[in-house]
């Protein structure tokens, strides 16, 4: 597969293939274009989801009905959850940055199955459209919460079938992405790119892909069963027919707990790329980070029951799940220590991606430690289903994945678009967003401790203060978001041209031009024996 020199000038953004215009994108099997397709579709859905979140916070600014009634509020948090979880954070980093960067990072020209890769994106879009159908047409917007708990999920009169089917299709898309990545990492590493030379981001994608592959089918079949229950009344989760609704929760969380690691592992991977670059120092504990990645993936598969402490499980199962939940904290903490140790005695360059990475560690630690409050059986029962839980998982899912995503986009933006963004406004956006985030979610820990339940559109007067502060925070955060997104969109046109390696990164993607040429490499790089990135 010899390529000519002429390609060097044609980058993937300008390349014209068989189709032109938008068709050249949605029929492209180029992993970089597919990565951007995901980026744009995820960004659009994120704006919708963030708007719904904003509306919920506005409703909660005062007790009683403010802008919506109880039923609308139920629908709003359901749709907010479904969009944010299934359409944004689960595909999130793997689909966008994994697609764009992983083949370059391992020295390949594309993923192993490029057409399958494109199919994944189409399925993603199909899933999104199906769920939107559920919202716009039919008897009503689903109001079950994103968890579709039985038996309500087959009793509710709302339009749940298309939503469930949409989630199923999104799951299938996720499985195919995982499958593709696993085969790519196994088969397409450049000569000399041994397993223990792979960048940590690739390692986290590898762990993630396994979870995608092994956990998603379980929720797939569970959702199919809920649909069959709705249509035919097969009885498997219906207590009237002898079914056990708690079993639904088991099966749902067998997927959905590992799904948290589908979200957070690549986020940790991106942080593990950013920190050494800006500390100008090799990563501390490369192998420890790999082991902790795989340990999180593995142990994280076996702790689903800590979502169900109050559902009526046996005591033995509760002890087991509580114990194992604490085990997950160990590899997570190892990662944090390694990042900190990487910075120690490094020569830190303060730039936007580093700010995001540093604040990631901060919010991730708050999210992680409050996770132990929830993982411990006794304290969980006290704060179960309160605002405390909402605060915790927003710190992990939004704080963890969101901060890492923004860090990643600010880190790889010059590579992806070949332009540098306005750093001043990027920093302003970060600090405003960070302040808004803390103001929005921190009071919810307090509210939860006070006893304010989650998923309520109304509350007692004593919760008023915390809620005002939280709603106020949501406005600050949205301001930050507007600044960040505006700056990024504006810079794609007006930004200065970025060089091949603006940050001094050591991974392979910094050796190809920005933006990368169509096939990434004229010649597949050969990684020398002594050439090692980290140690």
């Amino acid at each position: 597969m010899q390529t000519t020199n002429a390609n060097e000038e044609v980058n993937y953004l300008e390349y014209k293939g068989k189709y032109s215009g938008i068709w050249g994108w949605i029929f492209s099997t180029d992993h970089k274009r597919i990565g951007l397709l995901y980026l744009y579709s995820i960004a659009i859905m994120f704006v919708v989801g963030a708007f719904l979140g904003l509306a919920m916070k506005l409703e909660l600014i005062a007790p009683g009905k403010t802008i919506m009634n109880a039923a609308t509020y139920n629908a709003t948090f359901t749709v907010h959850g479904v969009i944010m979880i299934f359409m944004i954070v689960i595909p999130g980093l793997p689909a966008v940055f994994g697609n764009f960067l992983m083949p370059i990072m391992i020295g390949a020209k594309d993923v192993a199955f490029p057409k399958l890769n494109l199919l994944s994106w189409w399925l993603y879009v199909a899933g999104v459209l199906l769920i939107l159908t559920a919202l716009l047409f039919g008897p009503g917007v689903p109001d079950t919460g994103w968890t579709f708990y039985a038996p309500y999920s087959f009793k509710t009169g709302t339009n749940l079938l298309p939503a469930i089917f949409g989630a199923f299709v999104l799951g299938f898309s996720s499985i195919l992405t995982g499958l593709n990545f696993l085969v790519t990492i196994h088969r397409l590493r450049a000569p000399g790119m041994k397993w223990l030379k792979l960048p940590l981001f690739v390692w986290t994608l590898y762990g993630t892909a396994w979870i995608q592959l092994l956990a998603t089918p379980v929720v797939g079949i569970t959702l199919v069963l809920v649909s069959l229950e709705r249509v035919f009344g097969i009885g498997v989760f219906d207590p009237v027919l002898g079914g056990d609704p708690v079993l639904y929760q088991h099966l749902f969380w067998i997927y959905s707990h590992p799904a948290v690691y589908i979200m957070i592992l690549p986020a940790m991977g991106a942080i593990s790329e950013i920190i050494p670059t800006f500390a100008q120092k090799g990563i501390f504990g490369y192998k420890a980070l790999i082991i902790s990645t795989m340990a999180i993936a593995f142990v994280g598969y076996l702790v689903w029951g800590h979502h169900m402490y109050t559902a009526g499980m046996s005591g033995t199962a509760q002890y087991y799940f509580s114990l194992l939940t604490f085990f997950v904290a160990i590899p997570s903490a190892i990662k944090v220590f390694n990042w900190i140790s990487t910075m120690y005695k490094g020569s830190i360059k303060l730039d936007t991606p580093f700010y995001w990475a540093a604040s990631f560690i901060f919010v991730f630690m708050i999210g992680g430690l409050t996770g132990l409050v929830l993982g411990a059986l006794a304290t969980n029962i006290y704060v179960h289903d309160t605002a405390f839980v909402v605060a915790h998982f927003h710190f992990i899912v939004f704080g963890g994945v969101g901060f890492s995503f923004f860090g990643a986009i600010h880190y790889w933006y010059p590579k992806i678009f070949g332009k540098m963004y306005d750093k001043y406004w990027a920093n302003v956006g970060w600090i405003v967003f960070f302040i808004g985030f803390m103001t929005l979610y921190t009071p919810m820990f307090y509210l939860g401790m006070q006893g304010m339940p989650r998923r309520y559109y109304d509350y007692l007067e004593e919760f008023h203060g915390g809620n005002i502060l939280s709603t106020f925070g949501s406005w600050i955060m949205i301001t930050g978001l507007v600044i960040i997104i505006t700056n990024l969109i504006r810079s794609a046109r007006k930004g200065e041209k970025a060089g091949i390696n603006p940050w001094g990164g050591k991974t392979l993607e910094w050796r190809v031009p920005s933006p990368p040429p169509l096939e990434n490499w004229d010649e597949i790089p050969v990684i020398g024996e002594e050439e090692s990135k980290y140690f």
């Binding site: 597969m1 390529t3 000519t4 002429a6 390609n7 044609v10 014209k16 293939g17 068989k18 099997t29 180029d30 020209k109 594309d110 192993a112 199955f113 490029p114 057409k115 499985i175 995982g178 499958l179 593709n180 696993l182 085969v183 196994h186 088969r187 397409l188 592959l213 092994l214 956990a215 998603t216 089918p217 379980v218 797939g220 079949i221 569970t222 069963l225 069959l228 035919f232 009344g233 097969i234 009885g235 498997v236 027919l241 002898g242 079914g243 056990d244 079993l247 088991h250 099966l251 067998i254 169509l518 096939e519």
Partner: protein, 206 residues
């Protein structure tokens, strides 16, 4: 099509296809795995009802279908040997036999389900609600879901095999490039392996 530096992804890597197929099989295993978890929990909770309900099923038809699937698994496995020996006629015959056996399996299944339906045994039937205990309703709910999903996989497998036969005819799959044939075989064996578990769990526990 100026400047056709077409991204040619046509490098043939049989090992990549094979792992790809295996990974896909893992997802299928866990798809059925979810159902097996449900089955085992409900069986544990309603041992007597499951015992009783299983007696409604005809072990003979189940056994016949088991034999059919096992033989079809052998024929498709042999087709890989045949294509490596460049015996294309035999390859196609072996695949054709596999598809025909799959079809016979489905016909059996059709009559089996039909008999259940005519006795008023189907999800949501009034008869079941009146005459059956909760455990029995669960048993038949799972029976229809699991064998139904399995039958769906049989259909997908048949389409897959016919597609491969078409490719062999056009010699897009040949003795040096038969990963697709192997993959269809892997898929078919998966369908077989799942049936190996479904058969005792539904037919033999009475």
């Amino acid at each position: 099509m100026e400047q056709t530096k077409h991204v040619e992804h046509d490098h043939y890597d049989p090992e990549a296809s094979k792992i790809g197929m295996w990974l896909f099989i893992f997802t299928e295993l866990l798809l059925f795995g979810g159902l097996f978890i449900i089955y085992s929990v409900y069986r544990y909770l309603n041992p007597d009802a499951f015992h009783l309900a299983a007696e409604e099923l005809d072990t003979f038809i189940g056994a016949v279908n088991t034999v059919i699937l096992l033989v079809s698994s052998m024929t498709i496995a042999m087709s890989t040997t045949a294509i490596q020996k460049q015996n294309y006629r035999l390859t196609q015959w072996l695949l054709a036999i596999t598809v025909i056996l799959a079809f016979v399996f489905l016909v059996n299944k059709y009559f089996e389900w039909g008999a259940k339906f005519s006795h008023g045994i189907y999800p949501g039937s009034e008869h079941m609600l009146e005459a059956f205990s909760q455990g029995e309703i669960l048993f038949f709910g799972l029976y229809f879901v699991m064998t139904g999903l399995h039958a769906l996989h049989i259909v997908i497998g048949m389409v897959f095999i016919i597609w491969v036969m078409f490719y062999i005819k056009k010699r897009k799959v040949h003795h040096n490039r038969f990963a697709l044939l192997e993959n269809s075989g892997l898929y078919w064996h998966l369908v077989d392996a799942i049936w190996i578990f479904l058969f005792p769990l539904f037919y033999l526990i009475s």
